[in-house]
Structures are given as C-alpha cells and as structure tokens.
Symmetry: C2
Subunit: 664 residues, 2 copies
Amino acid sequence: MEGVDYLAPERNNAQFDVDEMKIVWAGSREAFEVSDRIARLVASDPNFRKDDRTTLGRKELFKNTLRKAAYAWKRIIELRLNEEEAKRLRSFIDQPAFTDLHWGMFVPAIKGQGTDEQQEKWLPLAYKMQIIGCYAQTELGHGSNVQGLETTATFDPQTDEFVIHSPTLTSCKWWPGGLGKISTHGVIYARLITDGKDHGVHGFIVQLRSLDDHLPLPGITVGDIGMKFGNAAYNTMDNGVLRFDHVRIPRNQMLMRVSQVTREGKYVQSNVPRQLVYGTMVFVRQTIVSDASTALSRAVCIATRYSAVRRQFGSHNGSPETQVINYKTQQARLFPLLASAYAFRFVGEWLKWLYMDVTKRLEAKDFSTLPEAHACTAGLKSLTTSATADGIEECRKLCGGHGYLCSSGLPELFAVYVPACTYEGDNIVLLLQVARHLMKTVSQLGSGKMPVGTTAYMGRAEHLMQCRSDVKQAKDWLRPNVVLEAFEARAFRMSVACAKNLTKFSSPEEGFQELSADLVEAAVAHCQLIVVSKFIEKLQQDIPGKGVKQQLEILCSVYALFLLHKHHGDFLSTGCITPTQASLANEQLRSLYSQVRPNAIALVDAFNYTDHYLGSVLGRYDGNVYPKLYEEAWKDPLNDSVVPDGYHEYVRPMLKQQLRNARL
Amino acid sequence: MEGVDYLAPERNNAQFDVDEMKIVWAGSREAFEVSDRIARLVASDPNFRKDDRTTLGRKELFKNTLRKAAYAWKRIIELRLNEEEAKRLRSFIDQPAFTDLHWGMFVPAIKGQGTDEQQEKWLPLAYKMQIIGCYAQTELGHGSNVQGLETTATFDPQTDEFVIHSPTLTSCKWWPGGLGKISTHGVIYARLITDGKDHGVHGFIVQLRSLDDHLPLPGITVGDIGMKFGNAAYNTMDNGVLRFDHVRIPRNQMLMRVSQVTREGKYVQSNVPRQLVYGTMVFVRQTIVSDASTALSRAVCIATRYSAVRRQFGSHNGSPETQVINYKTQQARLFPLLASAYAFRFVGEWLKWLYMDVTKRLEAKDFSTLPEAHACTAGLKSLTTSATADGIEECRKLCGGHGYLCSSGLPELFAVYVPACTYEGDNIVLLLQVARHLMKTVSQLGSGKMPVGTTAYMGRAEHLMQCRSDVKQAKDWLRPNVVLEAFEARAFRMSVACAKNLTKFSSPEEGFQELSADLVEAAVAHCQLIVVSKFIEKLQQDIPGKGVKQQLEILCSVYALFLLHKHHGDFLSTGCITPTQASLANEQLRSLYSQVRPNAIALVDAFNYTDHYLGSVLGRYDGNVYPKLYEEAWKDPLNDSVVPDGYHEYVRPMLKQQLRNARL
C-alpha cells in the first residue's frame, strides 16, 4: 500500500492553514525556503542514508562520519552553498562530526578573540579546511569551573615562545569534539604565565598533528575518550583526550584581541572590552535554545503521528480500537510538549533579537543591559534544554514499547540531545547564576535603579506583592494579562522570599549556599515567566493565515496553564491564586486539549521535517508504520543467518547436555 | 597509587555500623551471605568481564551473551548452585539474556498455568535446558490490551490439534525476549477458537525450532526485531518477531490448568479459580519493585561516590576545591534518590510478604483482599519504576559530563532499566487501574464495607476530610504520625475530589476518560502514601547495629519531606497543610541533608556492590577515578591506530583540496 496517506483524515480535520504555519515556524518565508530546499537535497541523496547507523561498530561508524563529512564538503563546494545553506546541510545530515566544532567553535573563537592579523592568517586556512580545528577548554578535572583549568602556557622570553604543558593527569584536555582523531589544530585554553605570574586562562592556537602524515606533533599525546551514551549518537564524534609535554608555539599564537603578551613578556590589556566574551556566550546559548525547539519538535512530531496511528482498547462490537491520541492521559503528556516546542521556538527567535541588540550596544560601549541579557540567556539555556531532554524521553514513553526500538528514532534523539544539559554551562550552575542576578536585582529595588529587560516586571514590586488573581471562571484563564500577572507575581514573590531568607544568615555567601535549592526554584519561576511572556508578545504581532493565530493562542494557553498546574504549589504558597482558581486553570487546560486534538497532526506537519531527518518508522509522514517496522527488523545483522553465530559453540552443547566438555 | 582508598576519610566519618546496615539492606544475614558470595564469584571470574561490551558490534555482542550464558550454566552445574544462588549468579552477570525469560517467564508460566501432567512433561526438560523457552504475548499491534491480541489457536476436532495462525501483519508476535534467535519453544498467547466461537486469549506451548539443527519449524517465520536503546543494554537480547502460518500442535499443549478443551472440542472451566492469574501478577510486579531498588541504588552509589571525589569551585588561596557533594543543590537532588532507594527496598520487602499472604488466601479460596493487593502492586510497580528511570538519569546528570561516558556505567544502566516503565503494564495504564480501585473504594465508603489493606486509611473518612496539620516548628515534621496524617489526608482528599467531579458527567465512563489525568495524580498520591507508610512501619521494628536505625529514620524523613516539597501544591490545594507548614517542611528537609552528608558514602557502601557489578569508573569503591578514566579511554577501538581508518580516503583529500577527484 505504498503511497497511501494513512493520516489524511487527520490532516483534513485541521482547522488552520498548515503552509502558513510552516512559515511562522521557520521564522520567515526565506528561512522556510532555504530550509526546505536543503532538507530535500539531503533526504534525496543516498550518500546521506542513516538508517543503518545503529548497527555499526565504533570504527565503521566513525569512518561513516568521515565519509559523510567529506562528501558534504564536496557538495557544498559543487553547489556553491553559502554559509547559511552549508550550516543547514550539516544539520540535516544529522550526524555529529568534527566539522561541527570546526565551524561552530574553532572559527568563531578565532574571529572573536583573534587580532586582525591573526584572523587574516588563520581564517582563510580554516575556511578552505586546509586546517581542521577544535576547541579545547574542558579538562579531565575541570568543566564548570573554567578558572580552575590547569594546563599552563608559560612564556619563554629567550625564544619568544609559549610552552604549553599538562602538569597533572587531571589537566589533560578531555571532551573536545573532533580532537580525538581528526583535528590538526586547536584553540587551547591554558593559564598564561609570564615571569612566574599567573594571569588566568587564555586561548592559544596550537597545531596538534602534522599536515603531512596526520601524526601527532612531538610532545602531544592525543586520542579518543571512548564510547558515549547511545548506539550511534555522539559515537560518530571523536571527543578527545590531549596531553602536552612542553610543546612550544610562537608568541603570536596566543589569541590577543583582548589581552597581549609583548616581546618582552609584559602582559597588557588592549582597548577591546572584555565584555565581548559575554556577547559570544549570549550568541552560543541563543543557538542552543533554537536547537532545543528543533530537538523537542522532532520528538513531538514522532510521538504525535504515532499516537494517531496506534490504537489500543475501546473496541465495541468489532469497531476499531481507540486511537491513543484520543486518551486524555496521552493528551495531557503530549500536548504540553507540543506547546513547549512552539514556545521555545518563539523565545529562541526573540533571543536572536536580543543578541543583535546586545552586540549593537557593545559596539557603542554600552554595557548596561549585558548582565541582564547574560542571566536571561543562561536561564533560558537551562530551562529549555532540561525540558527538551525530559520531553524527548517522555515522547519515547508515549510511543509504548516500540519507542524503545532504534527504528523509532527516539533513543538516538535522546542520547544525542542530553549532553546539552551539561555542556556550555551545567544547567544547575546556570540557574544559580540567574538566581544571583535576581537577588541583586531585588536588593537594588529600593535604590531607585530600575530593573531592565526581562526583570523589568520587578519594578512593579508593590503591585506584584499585593495582587490577587481575579479569575472567577475557567475561561478567565485564557486572558493573557491574567496569566502574565500570575506568573509575574509568583516569580517575584519567590525571589523576594529567597532574598528575605538570605538575610537570616551570617554571611550572604553562606546563605546563598544553604538556600541554593530554593534559589534554583526561584530562577526557574523567573525563566518560565520569560518564555510565557515572549509567547504572549509573539501573539501581539500580525500573524497571517487562516486559523494560524488561533492555534498559536491555544498553544500559548496550554503552555502557560500546564506550567501553572505543574507548579501550582508555587502559585498557592505565594498566595498568587486560590485553590479554586488553580482548579479552574486545570479545567480550562483540559478543555484546551480537546481543541488541540483535531489540529495535532497538522501542528507537527508544520515543522516540515522530512522522513529522512526524522529517522523514525513511528513518525513516518504517511503513517504506514507497521509494515515498515516489520521490514526494518529484518535488516538487523543478527538476521543475516537463521541460525545465529555462536549456536554451535554455546547453545547446542547446552541443549544436548554436553557442556561439561565444551570449551567456552 | 593502586590500593589507596581515596574515600577512606569519608568512610571514617560515618556515624553508624555499615556492616549491620548491609544486613538490613539485604533483608537478612542469610540473604546477605548468599548475595555477597555469588557477587564475588562473578566479579573474580574473567569470563564475566563486561567492560568491553559497549564497543562490540551487534553480532559479536550477541555471541558474547551466548558464551556467558553457557559458561554460567556450566558453573551452576559444577558448583551445584541452588535455584536462589543460580538466580543471583545470572543477575550479577548483569547482561540481559534469553535465560532470563526461560527461567523468569517460560518456566513460571508452565508452573502456573499447566496441569500436573503438563508440568511433569515439560518442566524436567526446561530445568535441564534440554529445551529453551520464551513467553510470547505481545504483538506488533497489541501490548497493553492483552484482550485485543490477534493470533488465533483454532481447534481442529478431526486431528485433535490446534492450528496456530497469524491472520494479520499486526498479529505477529513482537518483543518476546529470547524468541528471536534462541528459543526452541515458547508459551504463545492466542485467541482460542472452537467451533467458530472465540473464547479469548489462552496460553499454548509451541515448539518453534528443531532440536536437531535449530532451524525454525515449518510455518514459522522468526527473527530478531533489531537494535534497541543503548550501546549494549538490551541488544545482548534477541527480542523477537514471530509469524505463524497454520502451525499445528497437539491439543494437550494448551495450558489447561484453568480452562480446557475436550477431545470433542468443548470448552470447559476447571475448578481452579481464575484469580490465580492475579496472584502471578502480584508476584511478578513484586519482583519488579525489588529490581527498582537495585537499579536505583546502583546509580545512587555511583553518583554519591563520584560526588565525593569530584571537586569544583570554592578554592581559596590554593586550598583544594569543594567536593561537589557538599553543595546543597547536589544534596537536594542526590539524597532524596538515596532515600528512595531505601524506601523502595523496604516496600519491596513488604510486597514479598503481601504475595505470600495473597497466596495463602487464594489456596483457602479467600479472594477478599485480592483486588486491593492487585491495585497496590500495580501502583507500586508504576511508582517505583518511573522514579527509578528518572532517578538513574538524574544520577547521570549529577556526574557532570563524565556521566555521559559509557565508562561511567550510567548510560547502560539507564538504557537497560527504562523498559521497566513499559513492560508488565504501562505505568500510566497501571495508575488508571489504581484510580479505578480508589474510586470504587470511595464509592463504597457509605455502604458499611470497610476498605482493607493499603486503602484502610480511607475508613477514617470523616477525620481525614477535616484534619489539619498541627506542625508549628520545623522539627514537628520529624514525627511519623504527623507525616503520615498529611499524606493520608492529601491522598484521600484527592480521591474524593475526583469522585465528586466524576458525578458531573453523564456517564461514569465518560467522566473517567475525561478526568483521567487527575485520576492519575490521585493514584500517585495514594501510592506515595503506601511507600511512606511502609518505611515508617519498617522503623517500628527492632533494628540492631550502632546508629543504623537513626540513619534510616533520617532517610525516611528525607523521602517523605522531599515528596511533600515536590508535591506541595497537592497538600496546599487540599488544605492539608498551610504555606507556612510547607515552608517549615522544606527547612527541616534542608537540615536533614546536612545529617545525611557525613554518612552518604557509608550508606551506599551498605548496598555491598562489587566494582564489577557497578561497572563504573566513577563509582569505584576506592575513589581512584581519574587515572582509571584515562586508562579506560585508550581501550576504545578508535585508539587502535594513531591515524584513524578513513583518514586517507576522506580527511587528507579535504585538507589537500583534492576532494573534487576523490571517490567518496
């Protein structure tokens, strides 16, 4: 029955223009067109096949990555793809590779931290891939605490060189992607030491391997750190370990845009503001938030489609069983994730604007909004990645047993995604940074200094401490202002409560340590408010297309009321709402699920993912799940022979009671 | 520095007798001794090495399982291990295998559902492994809804045989472990059809493969269903697909203990009560709860030890950095999981008693407690497996980036564990069963029928609807009765609220569907109460050993107050406690974490896991993590050569700008 669309009845039920929603999801018509074109390019090219990936051993898998990376680069050149198109191509190939780090971290590090001369020297080489670079910051003993890194870069004035060295085992570089087997160069972070003085951590360009024979240069020990979570997942990547034994590099390979070491060994600051580093962090984390919406929406797309295909229970007199998507328990778990995917999309879009705003201000030496922007992106990175990791696993469970098969695509999606909770700032550490910013903001409220950006609501302190929700009926919860005020009051009161409790301790630092679990909760409340408020702001824009805005309004309410229900303890204990109002919110939420139901399939179609990109039999566009699942099974290497390898040595002797003499 | 115990200072700080705690954890001195002896036996035998497992391709991995299974069986015979010892041996080998299903499902199915003659015929063959069996219930299209299975077993009176057939693609058996490549026989569930009449699902013993050459018998198509979540994990197991094309078996291979088909084709019930099936379910789920405590405790052991080894931030003037276990955010995530592991252990122990009690009653044809026991085990299965799956992943995140490495042991532990949330009853479906039982119990309260077992508290309806917590200071929350009453009142009021809301619908079934998300929450509240109350009951026993009982009291309070904090919305919205009391509970919880801290390492030592069983570099007993992590990395196949396979074909042409002519 090839070619039949089993989900057509679902698609016909949709109450909005799905093509217009695709534009909204992509961000613009242009973005949609690029994305759509490149996705199809990848999907239609058998060189990018990935359905065999989970059965490969480590070496084969890695070789498969190298082949795809080379082929992709060849295509990029042949088709003269621009930077944006090339980036899309790499992302649709959907296989982590050393090129991600080369383009995503090595090149930006040189751009951001290199002087003009350094950029002129190194960037052309990197742009042509005549060198391949990685970004080596974390060490065996240090991740979160960057200032604690142990690798040293000691200036030798006699030779005008830096000596890069790993003084301890724990100082080995550990984790950098692309480092293990491929990178020829790296941006290496090390403590700069001149004349016996430690100037803290700085970046250096270090060649790691010979460009002739790829062997590590003298003094360099480098290798792969071994298997990671998941079948293929990040095992396609050569995360590496690197140990330096007094490796010498010329002085001009220290990245010197912000601070420099002179020929005499003097450490001097340039006139470029250090705050630029934070600008880069805002950029990277903004990207992570966008990626969260992509990952979550893929999982949601798979789970939603399969929930419409799968039937279980509820047959009466031989009628078909009930589609599982019709069960309220399924809806109550799935639809909030669908709404979250959209919510994260829009907050990610807003973060792009924030990054541009911050950049403009930095160029004008206006640092006033930077702390708030930094806290806000840190918090959103934490919130969205945690919710996405949990959400993918929830989607897997929503597919029942079959979600556990690799052919569902979900195990790999989870295993590839979860490191986002740890890299670029551990999610809990980031929330504590947000909390610090909130405590500072609260403490300055009396001083006349007005809070800015996403903390601006705290300026209405008096109102937020006193207000009580005026919700009387379930539908009152559909009013954006009602929702917003409840979230603002909850977030503010939780911050204020923490600030009050902090004063009970002899030192603020002791209090901060002791109350850190509460502070994390206050930070979460603040970040949830940001996502809710940016969704609401989005809906104040003009959004064309039949029914599109209405659907988004429903999803916005689902997102907010789901959070309100999940955290109703916060709202109740701070007195923002009453138990009756909480219960009305839950009632409204239930009725919203019924409104999402007929549109669910079209809402995930709007993500515009190809079957290749989804990589899931359960999430197939046409819903033809079971025959394909059956077909897929037979491809496993174990099915190469009817009688498995090992039967004669191990199974037959057992069955024939001849184990005693068997050689095992 | 081999032989140094880096965690010795931690162990010296413990305030209780860890050897006595080991006995408490194991359940008895005898259980401890068996477990300890068999664990060491496995750990010391290089044939059971498992550190290379995650790098193997599928075929090698499966062959490795076959070898271990045969070797284990050989050792079981040589050492004349009894059933309990053999079971332990298999569990310490820690590699899912067809033998798990043979012993855990095939043999018990024949024991439970076979007549005496059937048992006499088949069990001796199975006991000697002259046949290897699996348990084939689930199909491609049906898991949760067992009554919807499609495989048919049609009686042919002419030949006195059943014809087993798969009438549709979705009726293929799908998932049974051991089925794919190894099992010679299976207990197959199929719809019994006699004379055109469908009698519903029954079990049949069917031979699948020839005992001579292991080829599938005529009419049987059988294979492996392909890769599953995780690197090795359940990929060591041949979960199978099976399709029948009119396969004939003798009539006496229907499992006929409860119902029979006569020579004439008449369907008759025996005098054995059908309720026996529920007894088996209680048994299986009781085992799952025990396994939950084992899996969670392994993860907690790894995360706790590594949290004491790992240091990050907090260095002052060159002092060592702070052990991450000292951070309150780490404690607030880790210690509740430690407490949960103990809580699940004790509720599992109690379930063993419950199973024996149910069995005794069934033998005496007393079915009065069965519905309650059935609901209670279903609920506890759901609660403990969900909490354990989430808990393992949380432990992985608590180990920072290194938790993502397979050498941490945590990715595999997670991937192996998560199916427990789906098999033997999907966790949400089970909670809905609990909710049904609760609604029935509430509806009968007026009728004079007293609720029994774990629902007995509902008999105090009036009190529980009115009571208000009298907590005035944080330490009041340490009183077991105070905690118990709060949990009882919360659970009862949530059930009552659901029952009230149900009456608003035109039919109870419609109401049940519509309110199912709320019903699930009420069921969770009830199940949490059971775990808390059984922990408290355990502490009413005499528990010897210096400080042992005190530690358990602390853990019991941590478990209860953690739940109370997590679900404070439930407690507040039902008016069981006030916001101030909730905040006092949180304060008390924080202070309990400080009491757990010095005992944390000893509390995980009490699980008595060998380094082999833990399979984690991060969780090593001696805490010597970093050198071993470094060593482990070099074992990856990618490090077999300095220049990786594929460099010459794919990387060099890229670096040398010769891709255009490269063959990719």
